[in-house]
Symmetry: C2
DNA sequence: TTGACATATTCCTAAATAGGAATATATATT
DNA sequence: AATATATATTCCTATTTAGGAATATGTCAA
């Protein structure tokens, strides 16, 4: 199998819910010590350190040593690729009726008059 | 271990690069048959079907049967949570010097005058 | 019905990964 | 030096997962 690794990818970094929690803690733009994050997240210290490491590799946070502490700070720019990627689809939910929307509606009508979207009560989980 | 599953999460769905490729193919808002995606992505059909299944569970695509084909269409709204989440950080890279930025700059100066951000040439990978 | 085609599913395996426990490392304090 | 504190790392394991191969399912066409 090939499975070219995408560990350091920002998209993978933010896929993990606990890491989004870490980001939420750092969202104020201030530098925070690991212990503070540990306390706020009620999570074991090694786990937090690992998540911070992953976020750092992905370029989402930066570290600075300060005495015996390591101060982590959000690097918002690291999230920019995600924003750039997803904002393209913004027009799907804004209410302006643009070409995408008109096309979808037209197709929906076609589908209705064609009837082939049957019941389909499979395991939907 | 707890590890509460987040498979059906949109963030996890788009973390996989091939799935973002699938989304790119569907980005025109039109319905596409699986085989077309297979052809465009140069990827094995079962793999594509699995990715489509994952995207469907995450609510990012919809399916409609049409004869022997299954037509997949992007459901842009499924990506909305990602956009809502990430847009909060947009101010980090826009050039307006807001409070976040001033704070970061102030802190940076403090750090410089404190000197404790030493060399630190560890394995950075 | 038979066969061609489109798609999904199952089984398998190698790799990734979160988190726990224990330990290592670094720094501060006495 | 000895100890406490802060953080990282290593080892372990259970779980997830991408993709390949084979197969099953569903639908159309002759």
């Amino acid at each position: 199998m090939v499975r070219r690794t995408h560990r350091a990818d920002v998209f993978s970094a933010i896929a993990e819910p606990r890491r989004r929690e870490v980001i939420a803690v750092l969202a104020d733009g201030e530098a925070h010590a690991v212990n503070e994050i540990v306390f706020r997240m009620k999570m074991a210290q090694p786990a937090v350190s690992k998540h911070l490491g992953a976020l750092r590799k992905a370029g989402v946070v930066t570290v600075v040593k300060r005495g015996q502490h390591r101060m982590y700070r959000l690097n918002g720019e690291g999230l920019r690729p995600v924003h750039e990627w997803v904002k393209v689809f913004e027009r799907y939910w804004t209410h302006q009726v643009d070409e995408i929307k008109r096309r979808a509606e037209r197709k929906a009508l076609e589908r209705m008059s064609r009837v082939d979207a049957g019941p389909n009560k499979k395991k939907e989980e």
